[in-house]
Subunit: 217 residues, 4 copies
C-alpha cells in the first residue's frame, strides 16, 4: 500500500472558551506524527464564511486520501465518530465573526444529508481496542462541525471521488471543565492517541464493519 496522504483538521476556540480540544489534539498530533502516512494538519476558523473555503483550498492543494476533521463537543464523555451530516446551518451560538444562520442550507443545491465516507464503525472498534471511550454518533449538530462533515461529503460526491472524509467530536479538556462543574472531559494524551488510531483505521480499512452500532433513539 502506498503512503496515504492524510489531512487532519481542528477548530480554533469559540463560544467563550480559551482553548479548543480539537486544536490542541491536532497540534499534539502534528508534534508526533504517526509513521506511515503523509500527515498534514490545519486549524480551521470558526466562521460560516471562512471554514468552507479554507477546507476546500487545503483539499484542492493536498489531494488527500483521507480527511479527518475534528471539533469540540462540550458535555460529551466519549469520542463521537459521526455517521452523517445534514444540510442545515442552525447555529445555537454565533460563530467567531458574529454570524448566526437559522435553518439555512450548507449547500443550497445539495441533498438533505451526506454520510461519512470513512469506515465509521471500524474507527469506533479500533478506538475501543485501544482503550479509548468512543461511540458512533448519528448527529453532528447543526453548527460548523456538521457543516464541515457535510462539505466533506459534498466534495467526495462531486469534485473528489474516492475521498474518505469523516468527523470526530472530542470532549472538553480537563482544564475547560473547571468552568463547567460536573461535566465530563478527556485528557490530551488520550485525544492524540484517538486521532492516531482513527487515522490508522481510516487508512487501512476498505470495507466498514457490519456490526450493530445503531441507536434506538
Amino acid at each position: 500500500m502506498s503512503t496515504r496522504t492524510v489531512l487532519v483538521t481542528g477548530f480554533e476556540p469559540f463560544g467563550g472558551e480559551a482553548v479548543n480540544p480539537s486544536m490542541a489534539a491536532v497540534q499534539g498530533l502534528a508534534a508526533a506524527p504517526p509513521p506511515g502516512v503523509a500527515l498534514h494538519t490545519l486549524i480551521l476558523p470558526v466562521s460560516l464564511a471562512r471554514t468552507g473555503p479554507a477546507l476546500r483550498a487545503a483539499i484542492a492543494g493536498l489531494r488527500p486520501d483521507v480527511v479527518i476533521a475534528t471539533g469540540q463537543a462540550g458535555g460529551r464523555a466519549e469520542i463521537s465518530v459521526e455517521r452523517v451530516a445534514i444540510n442545515v446551518n442552525d447555529f445555537r451560538v454565533p460563530d467567531n465573526d458574529g454570524a448566526q444562520p437559522t435553518d439555512a442550507p450548507v449547500v443550497a443545491t445539495g441533498p438533505a444529508a451526506y454520510f461519512a465516507t470513512i469506515p465509521v464503525k471500524s474507527v469506533v472498534a479500533r478506538l475501543h481496542a485501544s482503550g479509548i471511550p468512543a461511540q458512533l454518533s448519528n448527529s453532528a449538530g447543526t453548527h460548523l462541525c456538521n457543516h464541515t462533515l457535510y462539505l466533506l461529503g459534498h466534495l467526495a460526491a462531486t469534485e473528489q471521488p474516492g475521498l474518505r472524509g469523516g468527523f470526530l467530536h472530542l470532549p472538553w479538556l480537563p482544564e475547560q471543565v473547571v468552568r463547567h462543574p460536573g461535566q465530563p472531559s478527556m485528557g490530551l494524551p488520550t485525544l492524540v492517541l484517538a486521532l492516531k488510531t482513527a487515522i490508522t483505521a481510516a487508512c487501512e480499512t476498505a470495507d466498514d464493519l457490519r456490526v450493530a452500532m445503531g441507536a434506538t433513539h
Copy 2:
C-alpha cells in the same frame, strides 16, 4: 379553517419493557380527544416488516392532513421533537419479530434523509409555553422511530404531497424507571398534554418559527 384530519401513532412495548410511553400516551389522547380535529390513533407494531405497511395503510385510508408519530426514548428527560430522519436501519436491539438489520436503507431508492414536515420549532415553542420540557432533536436514532419518520417524509415527497408528518420521542414513564435507577421519566398526564399541544401547533402553524434552536454538536 376546515377540520383537520389528524393521525397520531404510538408503538407497542419492546426491548423487555412491559409498557411503551407512546402507546400509553396515544391511548390517553384517544380517551380525551382534543376539540376541533378529527383524531385517529394507531398503535404500530415494533417490526421492520410490519411497521411500514401498517402506517402506509392507515394513511392511505384516512388521507390525514397531519401525522404525528411517537415512540419511546428511554433515558431522555424531555420530549424530543425530531427534525430529520436518515436512510438507515441499524438496530441496536432486535425488533419484536427478532429482525435486526445493520446499515440497510429504509427505502432502497430514497435520499439520504428527509426533514420532518411539521413545523418543529413551533411545536417546541408551544410545548415550552405549556410548561412541558421539550427540545428540538437532530437524530431520531436508527431504529423504527427513525424508520417511521423517514417513511412519513417519503410519503410526503412521493404519494401524499402536503402531508405534515413529524415524530416525537417520549421519555420513559415513571413506573418504567423503577427498573432503570437514576434515569429521568415523564408522567402520563404530561405526555398526553404534550400530544394535544403538538397537534394544535402542527395544525395551526403554516410557516415554522425562524429562531435559533440548533445544536453545536
Copy 3:
C-alpha cells in the same frame, strides 16, 4: 393502631425559581389528605434564621408522631429519601433573607450527624412498589434541607423521643425545567402520590427493611 398525627412540610421557592415542587406537592397533599392519619402541613421559609423556629414551633404545638419534611433537588430524576444529615451549614446560594453561612454548625453543641428516624428503606421500597422513581440518598446537601433533617434528628434525640423524622428531596416540576434544558423533572401527581406513599410507609413500619441499598461512592 391509633390515628397517627403527621406533619408534612415543604419549602417556599428560592434561588430564582417561581415555584418549589415541595410547596406544590404539600399543597396538593393538603387538598386531598390520605385517610387514616391526622395530617398537618406547613410551608417553611427558606431562611437560616426562621426555618428552625418555624419547624420547632409546629412540632411543639402538634406533637406529631411522624414528620416528613420535603424540599427541592433540582437536577435529580428520582425522589431521594435522605438517610443522614450532617452538622454543617455551607450554603452554595444565599437563603431568601440573603444569609449565606460557610462551614458553620447547624447546632453548635450537636454531633457530626443524625440519621433519619423514619424507616428509609421501607419508604423507598413502597415508592418503588407504587411505580415511583426513588432512591436512598446519603447526602441531603449542606443547605436548609440538610439543616431541617438535622434539626428533626436533634429534636428526636433531645426533646421529642420517639419522633419519626425524615426528609424527601423532590425533582423539579416539568414547568421549571423549561428554563433548565435537558434536566429531569417529575409531575405534580407523581409527587403527591409519593408523599402519600411515604406517609403510609413511615406510619406502618416499625422496623426498617434490612436490604442492601447502599452506594459504592
Copy 4:
C-alpha cells in the same frame, strides 16, 4: 517546615473491574514521587475484614502527618474530595471476600460521622488551579471508601491526634469506560497530577479556605 511523612492509599480492583484507577494512580505516584515529602504508598484490599487492619498497621508503623486515601467512583466525572464519612457499612455489592454488610456500623461505639481532617476546600481549589476537574463531595457512599475515611477520622480522634486524613474519589480510567458506554472517565496522567496536587495542599495548608462550596441537595 520539616519534611512531612505522607501515606497515600489506593484500592485493588473490585466489582468485576480488571483495574482500579486508585491503584493505578497510587502506583504512578510512587514511580514519580513529589519532592519535599516522605512518600509512602499502600494498596488496600477491598475487604470488610482486612481493609481496616491494613490501614491501621501502616499508620501505626509510619506515623504519617498526612494520609490521603483514594478509591474508585465509577460514573463521576470529577475528582471528589470527600468532606465527611458516616458510621454505616451498607454494601451495594459484596467485597472481594464476598462480605456484604447491611446497615452495620463501621465502629460500634463511634459517632454518627467524622469530618475529613485535611483542608478539603483548599484541596479542591488547588486542583482547580491545576486545571483538574474537582468538587467537594458530601457523601463517600456506604462501602469501603466511606469506611476508610471513617476509620481515618476515628484514628485522628482517638489514637493519632493531629493526623490529617482525607479521601479522594477518582473517576474510571478511559479503558474501563469502553465497557460502560457513555460514562465519564479521567486519564492516568491527570489522576497522578491530582494526587500530587492534593498532597501539596494537604501539607501546606494549616487552615482551610472559608469559601462557599456547599450543595443545595
